[in-house]
């Protein structure tokens, strides 16, 4: 991370619980989180530690109970649900573990979805989607349906979709866990390149130690709290220890 990098995401004292009474589970217990522009930021930790909840809250897809969240200079606390939806549509791209491509649409149509949601005309959206598919090495698969592609190819389509509207924040949930090692590295190369775009931040929640080496910074979580943040030499040692 460059020292002068601007903050992309800042979360302070965020709490989130699910259920009521005896079944109440506290997923985030006053968690703080920071990610800067221009970095590829991994969030790691054991299952159930609150990684995905933190990701959901930061992305504005899940209401949180308390705490402040600022994304790309906008305080989410002050926004209405519809404003948060519009904000997500404009500034955030998503990559999911199970790809979540719509199986009845072609790859081009899937990639064009965020553009269409942002008001781009159909022809322009499909033209740009085709360019992005070319960029991720799937230029010849545009008219195919996602089910006709391998897992790695589907995730590349998902990356193209996430980047189509040029978001400044890319939120990735276990993007490599469903892929073999080689394909996982190809996907991470793409995400790493995406993170180098000016003003963009890529946050990845992962269990996959194979991709730790791509991180500019790693936030480790445990039991709903931030355990430690690693960057620079400590990060290199952490990566070495997980090889």
């Amino acid at each position: 991370m460059k020292p002068e990098s601007k903050s992309a995401v800042t979360a302070s004292g965020v709490t989130k619980s699910f259920g009521v009474g005896d079944s109440r589970t506290v997923a985030l217990k006053g968690t703080d989180f920071h990610a800067a522009e221009g970095e590829l930021h991994l969030v790691v930790g054991p299952s159930g530690c609150g990684k995905t909840t933190l990701l959901s809250v930061v992305a504005g897809t899940l209401k949180w109970d308390a705490g402040d969240i600022q994304v790309l200079g906008t305080k989410l606390n002050g926004l209405s649900p519809s404003e948060i939806t519009a904000f997500r549509g404009e500034h955030i791209g998503f990559i999911f573990q199970q790809f979540n491509l719509i199986p009845t649409l072609s790859c081009v149509e899937n990639v064009s979805v965020p553009l269409l949601l942002n008001g781009t005309k159909r022809a322009a959206a499909e033209r740009k989607a085709a360019e992005l598919l070319e960029l991720v090495g799937l230029g010849d698969k545009g008219r195919k349906r996602p089910t006709e592609l391998s897992g790695g190819q589907q995730q590349r389509v998902a990356i193209a979709r996430a980047l189509s509207h040029e978001p400044r924040l890319l939120i990735c949930d276990e993007p490599t866990s469903a892929l073999d090692s080689e394909t996982g590295h190809q996907i991470m190369d793409l995400l790493s390149t995406a993170a180098r775009s000016p003003g963009r931040c890529v946050i990845i929640v992962t269990h996959d130690p194979r991709i730790y080496g791509y991180a500019d910074r790693i936030t480790a979580m445990e039991d709903g709290r931030l355990k430690h943040v690693l960057a620079g030499d400590p990060l290199k040692q952490f990566v070495q220890s997980h090889r």
């Binding site: 995905t52 209401k63 199970q98 009845t104 949601l117 942002n118 949930d173």
Partner: protein, 379 residues
């Protein structure tokens, strides 16, 4: 986004076919049964259209057009004497047995027309001359009469052929076209005097009186005066049709049985389409959640679901109504079952399909509105 919504709908072939099939069946059932019911109702008043008189005067206790309660012969003159009545003529109507060539008995509706004027004549002559009815033992029969009374003949009964009505000779001098009678009897037109010869003797033989108002007097006004001055019941043709239809609605199980089928069609539509569309939404919930995460508002998703539901509805409606129309074209030449497809029936079915689609979409919209986009992060 809306073209993608349609692709999402049509891409899931099994659900799409099920959805459109359910709506087609529903539209078919509602439209076809309504058309048959309307056709049946039109038969109840066909009698009025087959004789086309502006004023119908009947005994005070007659409830509908196909009912006969005899009048006194002098009632004709009482009606003629009412101010505003241009003319009034006696008419006989009754169901008698006719013997076909092979010896079988067929029930026929005898209509005895006033000999001098032949007022109440059939709407369309296909062969022969109606004026010939003034000759003794002559009749004009309709196409159904030709069909029924030709039993045992090498060729259909025609002009000059004879059969028996109540053991009396009836010579065919004309073939006419009529609308089918509610009870399915063939029409046999003859003169009033001849009809009295065919019919078994009773104390009162006059069935009803056909009349016409004077120029400048409306049929409704003339009917009101006749009723007031004679104590008989006088109707305009439209009023008598309404009274007849109302009687059928109130006193027979026909409307209820048709309504039951029509309501079942609606329920089938709601159940099949609602359930199918809801399961379509459930299966796509993850994708809809992903769209929501990517910035699709609930309103955008709601419009997509409405478009999907109404597209299926539009196609199902078109197919259902199309099949109904094809059914109509197939059965109309044979005259059975009765079939009248009115614009109002099409509109009612369209409204029902809109309600079904709206209900189906609403189930999905409710689910989508409650959907947290974070659902896409759950494994």
């Amino acid at each position: 986004m809306f073209h993608l919504a349609l692709k999402m709908l049509m891409g899931d072939r099994a659900k799409y076919i099920m959805l459109v099939g359910g709506l087609t069946f529903s539209a078919l059932l509602m439209t076809q049964q309504t058309a048959v019911f309307q056709g049946l109702l039109s038969w109840t008043t066909s009698h009025l259209r087959n004789m086309r008189a502006p004023l119908w005067v009947v005994e005070a206790h007659v409830d509908y057009a196909n009912e006969t309660k005899p009048l006194r012969d002098t009632d004709v003159n009482r009606v003629r004497s009412v101010k505003g009545v241009d003319f009034a003529v006696p008419m006989y109507q009754g169901i008698l047995k006719a013997r076909a060539f092979d010896g079988s008995d067929k029930q026929v509706m005898i209509i005895g027309l006033h000999g001098a004027t032949l007022f109440g004549r059939p709407p369309q002559m296909l062969a022969g001359n109606l004026e010939t009815l003034r000759l003794p033992n002559t009749v004009v029969i309709d196409e159904l009469g030709v069909q029924r009374l030709s039993a045992g003949r090498k060729k259909p009964i025609g002009l000059g052929d004879t059969f028996e009505i109540n053991d009396r000779e009836a010579r065919v001098v004309g073939i006419c076209r009529t609308e089918r009678h509610f009870f399915g009897y063939p029409y046999v037109f003859t003169s009033y005097d001849q009809a009295l010869q065919y019919a078994p003797r009773q104390r009162k033989m006059l069935s009803l009186i056909l009349a016409s108002p004077k120029p400048g007097v409306t049929p409704a006004e003339a009917a009101r005066r006749i009723s007031a001055e004679t104590g008989l019941k006088a109707y305009t043709s439209d009023e008598f049709a309404k009274v007849t239809v109302a009687y059928i609605w109130k006193n027979t199980g026909i409307p209820m049985s048709f309504m039951t089928t029509i309501i079942l069609g609606f329920i089938v539509g709601v159940a099949v389409s609602g359930q199918t569309f809801y399961s379509f939404v459930l299966e796509n919930l993850r994708h809809l959640g992903a769209l929501k995460a990517m910035g699709a508002s609930t309103w955008t998703l709601a419009r997509m679901l409405l478009l999907q539901a109404f597209t299926a509805g539009f196609i199902g409606y078109g197919m259902g109504v199309g099949i109904t129309a094809a059914f109509g074209y197939a059965v109309l030449p044979g005259g059975q079952p009765p079939f009248v497809l009115e614009a109002s029936s099409l509109i009612r079915t369209a409204v029902a399909i809109v309600v079904i689609c709206f209900f189906a979409a609403l189930l999905g919209i409710r689910k989508v509105a409650k959907l947290e986009p974070a659902v896409v992060f759950r494994g």
